[in-house]
Structures are given as C-alpha cells and as structure tokens.
C-alpha cells in the first residue's frame, strides 16, 4: 500500500502536512517563553556528533561542559486542523551549535529573530545567518519591562536590516502578541513568494 498524504488509502489515517518556523535570538532573549506562549511546548533530546569545527569557545553560561554532545532543545506544536500542524523550533543560541542551524533552517517557512534591546548585538549572528541563507525572517523586539523603550526604526538601523524586513515590538509572554509576530512573518513570506499580491498582515503594535 502506497502512502502519500494527498492520496491516502481509506484504511490509513491521513498524515498531516507539517511546516516549521525557527525562533532565533541571543541567550535569554525569551525564545522558550515565546514558544510556550502560543504552543504546547515539548522537550527534545539530541545527541549530536560534534566535529572539531563545531566545538568552539563558549562565551555564554547555561550549557555545562564544553565537550558534551547533548543538546537539549524545545519545540512547540500548533495543530491548526487534523491535516496541518506548525512546529516552532527555538534554535540553540550558542555559536557552537551552528551546525544544527542548517538542518533546522532547511525547509523552514521562515524565522523570527527575537531581539532584546539591552543586548541587541546578540542577534547579529542570527540576522547574518538568515540573510546569507535566504531564509525569510522578521525581527521581533521583546519588550522587557526594564528595557529602554525602543523605536522599531532604531532597531532596523542598528541591525542594518533590508528595508523590507518587518520589525515588530512584542511581549514574548503574551499569546496575542506572539500570534501577531507569527502572522507578520507568514504574511511577509507570502508577499515574498508572490510579490504581486497584497496580504493582510496584522497591524504593528504602537511603539
């Protein structure tokens, strides 16, 4: 019995179509918070074979042991219908895990770069990665309570973004806010895929 999702045999349950979005950003920018605000979050163990190249110098605490090959990751799942599910992957932020990014980015619908205005430099690497790989992305500025208020244009300039890359303010703890970020991303991807069409994206929250 052949199993394909568009022509599933009657006795086989239909396999859902799956899509993924990456959530990138520096350590502590709120990636896991964002994913858990909108989806059921699930732990994922990886046991990666690190090449010499990927074992770099860790400049960030939070991962114990430089020689470990275990990477703990989270992912979130949003099931829209029985036949469509969206997966959100928080990318391991440390440079030594870049070898995992290729796999995560491959086939991704797009990416959210979560920026913390107190440490904007932390998301340079993510922006650079997605620009080089042609992965569509939006920058979501996580508005921490004690962070100075930022204008999205300031962030755009600071990150030297292409003019068409959307920059939105968000609260990674807030479901509606995160929903707005994802809607902005998918609307942007649609516009890139079909520039002639106009898509209704969510209004940007006032900065």
């Amino acid at each position: 019995m052949d199993y394909t999702h568009s022509d599933a045999a009657a006795d086989a349950p239909a396999a859902p179509t799956t899509a993924k979005i990456l959530i990138a950003g520096g350590f502590g920018a709120g990636k896991t918070t964002l994913v858990s605000a909108i989806s059921e979050i699930r732990p994922l163990r990886t046991e990666e074979t690190l090449s010499d190249r990927s074992v770099g110098v860790d400049d960030i605490s939070g991962v114990r042991g430089k020689t470990t090959t275990t990477v703990a990751m989270d992912f979130g799942r949003i099931t829209f219908r029985s036949d469509l599910a969206l997966y959100l992957f928080g990318t391991p932020g440390q440079e030594r895990f870049w070898f995992m990014w290729d796999e995560l980015a491959y086939g991704a619908l797009g990416a959210v770069v979560l920026a913390d205005t107190r440490r904007l430099g932390d998301c340079f690497a993510s922006v650079d990665y997605f620009e080089r790989h042609g992965t569509p992305f939006v920058v979501a500025v996580n508005c921490f309570d004690d962070a100075p208020p930022y204008d999205t244009d300031d962030v755009r300039i600071a990150l030297d973004l292409d003019p068409d890359v959307p920059v939105v303010l968000c609260d990674a703890r807030d479901r509606e806010s995160v929903k707005n970020v994802l809607i902005t991303l998918v609307g942007y991807v649609l516009t890139r895929a079909n520039p002639a069409a106009e898509y209704q994206s969510a209004p940007l929250p006032a900065g």
Binding site: A12, P13, A15, A19, T70, F80, F89, G107, L109, L182
Partner: protein, 125 residues
C-alpha cells in the same frame, strides 16, 4: 578527584546504554539519507520485518508509536530518545518496509496554499 560520598542515582547517573549503542554506533542511515525533523511517520498496516531481521526493543517502541501518523520530533519526545538515534532507527524500519515516511517540505517554502492555510490558522487561534 574522587568524592567518596557522592552518589549519582537513576537519571543523574546518565544513560545506562550510550545513546548510539542502540543504533550499533551508526549516526547516519545506511542509505545515507536523512529523515527530517518534521517528516511524518506511519506504520504500514500488518507489515512484518523481512525474514531474518530481528527488531530491537527500541525499534518496537518506535513502531508502537507510529500506528497513527506522528512527526519525528514528536516521536522522539514521546519516547525520550535522542532525535538522532530515532532517525537512524526509523530509516531501518523504512528500509524493512514496515513504516512509511512522508517527507516534509525541503528547501524554501513558496507553496502559496500552504502559507495561506498557516496564515488562516494563525488568525483563527
């Protein structure tokens, strides 16, 4: 330095079997292909492994989880095995013809219908 009174119990002691021991040391599939993280897996109804093939307990554990369609990452999370290990074991099961793997999209996503469906789904949340 050895600390005599320090004891590691249960999970703190780490896995009893090194993760890739269950794949006999293999970190990539025999045919060199890679199973994607959000590829969907489904057991083939009533299929049996080829004659002479003995499934490992982990193979059986995976097989039991894919009676319904399930993604590779959900499967790995459910059975708490590293995703890399699950992928190698899945490629075995696929090679034996007892599971089918439906690949998710590779490369850039430009499928307008899919994108619109995702957008509509997000709006409806």
């Amino acid at each position: 330095m050895i600390v005599p009174n320090e004891q590691w119990l249960d999970r703190e002691a780490g896995p009893v079997v090194r993760p890739y021991a269950v794949t006999k040391g293999r970190t990539v599939a025999a045919d060199g292909t890679s199973v994607g993280l959000i590829d969907v897996v489904l057991a083939v109804v009533d299929a049996q492994p080829p004659a002479g093939v003995r499934l490992s307990p982990e193979h059986r554990q995976i097989l039991a989880q894919c009676r319904r369609p399930i993604t590779v990452v959900d499967l790995a999370s459910d059975i708490d095995l590293p995703v890399g290990v699950v992928r190698v074991l899945l490629s075995d099961l696929s090679e034996y013809g007892i599971v089918r793997i439906q690949g998710a999209i590779r490369g850039p996503v430009t499928n307008e219908r899919l994108l619109r469906d995702v957008l509509d789904g997000l709006h409806a949340l």
